[in-house]
Every structure is written in C-alpha cells, then in structure tokens.
Amino acid sequence: MIEMDTMNTNAVLCRGVTKTYGSGSTQVHALSGVDLEVCLGEHMMLVGPSGSGKTTLISIISGVLDHDGGECRVFGREFSHMNRYEKTLYRKQNVGFVFQMFNLIPTLSAAENVAVPLLINGVSRSEAVDRARDVLNRVGLGDRTYSLPDQLSGGQQQRVAIARALIHNPRLIVCDEPTSALDHETGHKVMELLHETAIGVDRALIVVTHDARIFSFANRIAKMDDGRITYVTSPHHYLENEKQN
C-alpha cells in the first residue's frame, strides 16, 4: 500500500514541472515550468489549444509519464521519489481514468469492463463483477451489465467508463476529453454524472477538455498555453475573459 498524506488539502501540487520530448533538432518542450494546485474535493478543468501540454500534464499527474524537472506531488508524495513499481501501485490504488475514446475492452461485457480495476487490485472475479453491477446501477446502466461495448451508444459507453473509473474508489480521477466523442446532450448528461459521482471531500477530479459547453461544471479552470499554465480562474471569469479576448 502506498502511503498518501491524507491531511494535506492539496490533491495535486505542481511546481515548475518540465517535460521535453525528443532531442537535438527534434526537441519539443511540452511543459516549460507548470505550476498548478488542485485541492481535495475540487473539480479542475485544464483547457487550452492543441499542443499546449494538457495531455502531458495529466499524464504526469496520473503517473503514466515521468516529468523531467520541477516538483509534482500527488496526495503529498513526490513522483520523482517513486520508483516504477511504486508508480504502478499508486495508479492501481489512487487513480481512475476516463478516456476520450472510452478504451473499453471490446470483448468484455459492461460489468466485466467495470470490474477491471478491482481485478487489477486482486479482488476475485465474482466479487468484482458483483460490485461492478452495483456501480453500473448507480450510473443508470443496471440493465446493460451483459452488453458488449459495441452494443452500447457512445454516451452509455462513457458511463461504463465512468463506472470503471469509480469502482475502486480512487482519490484522483483524470478525464481526457470525456465529451468530445459525444453529442451535446449526451455530453452534458455524462458531465452531470461525473459531477455527481466523482466529486468527494477526499477526492479530486481533473478534466482535460476543449468543450466550452461543459466549463460550468468545473470549480476552477486552468488555461494552458505553450507548455505553461497562463492563469487559473472560475468558469464564469474564464468565459468572460475569453469573450474579451
């Protein structure tokens, strides 16, 4: 079990985080000193143009990518002090993922897909699938537990993905463009569901998005540009700011 600091009100604390891809003439500075705080119970959205470093930043925060410089603490633990095994353990226990293209395994039923994080955590198959059915009920898909992903609509698939992200009670949920493959109405419902189920006092939610229609769900919005956080503000101020620009 990875020991996380439960007294810290910061879920995520990044200071001067840098990340560079490639070398020599092909070198790309994806992050050039990112400073970001995400508090427990907060719903933070990362917005910005393509190539601004949003996906790189959530990859680092979720522990799937190593940063080159700076400091990145999640629940009080500094990533650069964790070895590969500890990072795997960290992700297994503390992170729930929601992806743009859902990434549901096409040959598993909805319940089996939802059960995957529990199976990775060593829970038996029968118990994991039972608990998955409960979570699917919570997201309104109790009648589709045996359906394969290709028998579900895009919105239903994303709800299954949300159920999968929640089932092992992770303390950090990262979502990468969760509504970009959905129509407006379905996207709105998915965000409502995420907001209702994923936010908690000991939990943080980080959403990367381009979709201005869902900005209102966030507590704060961090604008990224050219590998930096340019400002962090409320959704209301962000939209006003964008109108002025």
Binding site: I58, V95, L108, V116, I120
Partner: protein, 384 residues
Amino acid sequence: MNFIALKMLVGNRAKYLGIIFGLTFASLLITQQSAIFLGLMTRTFGFLTDTGLPDIWVVDPKVQYIDDLKPLKETESLRVRGIEGVEWAVPMYKGLLKARLPNGTFQACILVGLDDETLIGGPPEMLQGKIADLRNSDAIIVDIVGATGKLAKILPDGTRMPLHIDDTMELNDHRAVVVGTCRVQRTFQSQPVVYTTFSRATLFAPRERKLMSFVLVKAKQGQDINILCQRIRQMTGLAAYTHNELRELTVHYYMKYTGIPINFGITVVLGFIVGVAIAGQTFYNFTLDNLRYFGTLKAMGASNGTLFRMIILQASTVGGIGYGIGVGAASVFGLMTGNTELSFYLPWQLLVFSATSITLICAASSVLSIWKVIRLEPAIVFKS
C-alpha cells in the same frame, strides 16, 4: 486477469482461428512427418524386432546394418557354440531371392532360413499353419502381406487370389509349398518375407561359398551379455552385437548414409517455420490490435508481470488447442493408413517432441508481443 486475457483472445475470432490454424498445421506437419520418419526407421530393423529370442547376433565385422548381408562360413556357428557362456548358437540365412509367380512374372522376396533342428528365429505370429510344418518337404511360410499382395495369384479377370496353404510357387527355380502364413513387421523395402529351414534356404539360394548370414546366440542365465559379446569377438574375430546394438547400428547407418533424415528433417523444419510465420505473425498482429487495451490495463495499474502472464496464458491456450488438434489429426491419419504401405509410428516420445516444438513456436510468437507490451508506455492511453 486470466479471464480477461482469454476473452481478449477468443473475442477476436478471425485472429484466434488464424493462430490456431497456424499452430494446428505446424503440429500436424511436425507430428505426421516425424511419425512417418520413425515408422520408416522402425522398418529398417523390423526383422530384428520379429526375431526377439536371441540375445546376441554374430555377423561379419564389415556388416554396417541388418540388411547388409556378408555371409559367414557355416562352421562359425559351431565355434560360437563352444564359447563359454553361450546357451545355444544357431545359424540363420537371410537373402533376397526371386519368386516366380504362376502368371510368369517375378517378385523379389526376402528368404529367411531357420535352424533346421530348433527353428529358432521364426515368425513372431502364425496366422495359418504351424512353424513346425516347415519340416515338411519344400515347405515355406509366407507373410500375410506378401501372400495377399505381391505373391497373390492373379486370376484371368485381374482379381488377386491370396496364397493359401498347399499352394505352390517357385523360388529361384525350386518348388516351394506354402504350409502357413504369418504376420511380420513391414520391411523397409516392402518385399514379401518367406520363411523356410536353413538347409532348404541354402538350396533355394544361388550357389555361394558361404551362405550363413547370422549366428543367433542365447547367453546362459546370469551371463553378462556385453561380456559375452566381447568374448565372442575376441575368440572368433567376428562382430557380435546385442539386440539393441544391432538396431542402433542399423538406424545409424540409415541416418548417416541415406537422405531420409534430411528429407524428413526439412519437412519438419518447414512445419516449424510455417508455424512461427503464421502463428507468430498473427499473434503479434493480435497483440498490436489490443495494444491500446494493454496500455489501458497498464495505466490502470496492471504490472508488467501481470501483462506478461496474460500473454503467456493466451499463447499457451492457442498452443494447447493447436497442438491437440494437430496431434489428433496426425493420429487419425495414422489410424487410417494403418493397413497400408505407409509407415507410421507415433510413440509418446514423439508427442513430447511435438509439444516441445509447439511450445517453442508459441514462445517465439509471444516474445515479440511480450517485448512490445513490456516496453509500452502507459501514456499511450491518452493518445487519440
């Protein structure tokens, strides 16, 4: 995680069947060709297998294999008989003779001449008549395959009539009367086998100064056979082999001086390569198709060890199924060709060999996949 691995595998029906097809084909080819090869090799010493009673075979020192007949003087059997530790020693004739069939055609036969007194070295299984009937005038015993096949009488309408007891035939212009039929191992050259007494065989055989092919020796109870072989060699200057030694000598000759192992070896290697090519490539493509999901599992905290075990389980599953179907098909082939000229011998060691080959193919197939998945950066999941 095992059921996830299996569902991922079985769910991709086309690739799953493709991998199994590749492994089945490899398993079938490796098992069937090896079984035919072993069958052929077994036939090279089939005569030895049929003649199980003697402990030691005394032959000319230049003999390289069982059918490499270099005649000995008949008195050699008397010399061997006098050596300490020998229970009995009897002469045996073996040679290739022409039989003239009633329709005037000739057929080469293997003629075996047994010791007149003891008839030691006779056929292992009599189907009609008794071995003792060889003591009748001009008597011969014919193997059933020869009696119903190459030596059968051809009637005017073209049908074959098997040789029966009391039928006559000509062996090298000598009259011979069938007194029985027997079952023997198929010979390497697939020629009919005819048994008679040693003295009659030497009458049938073309005139030569020396006509004895082997001295068959039984060791006294408690006598070390290897020591007795050594003693016979020292005292007679002849070669003396135990049953196994002569069998190994024969197999070694065919392995070394004929193209049989190379030809079959090439087919077996081809089966292996086809297995690796089809199964390996399809398995690798299957992994590439599922790379996003392996990445997702990795991002969610599945360790490299877990993913490694998943791929090994997938490879083992298709390997087991492909091996089973391939070996099963080879066995059915063996059963269906059991009564034909085709040689087929499938011992348990060959099943182990096939299993090892398929395991190697699966290992080779999964290595690339494992390498790909182990090196996979979990950050791939955020790439659209």
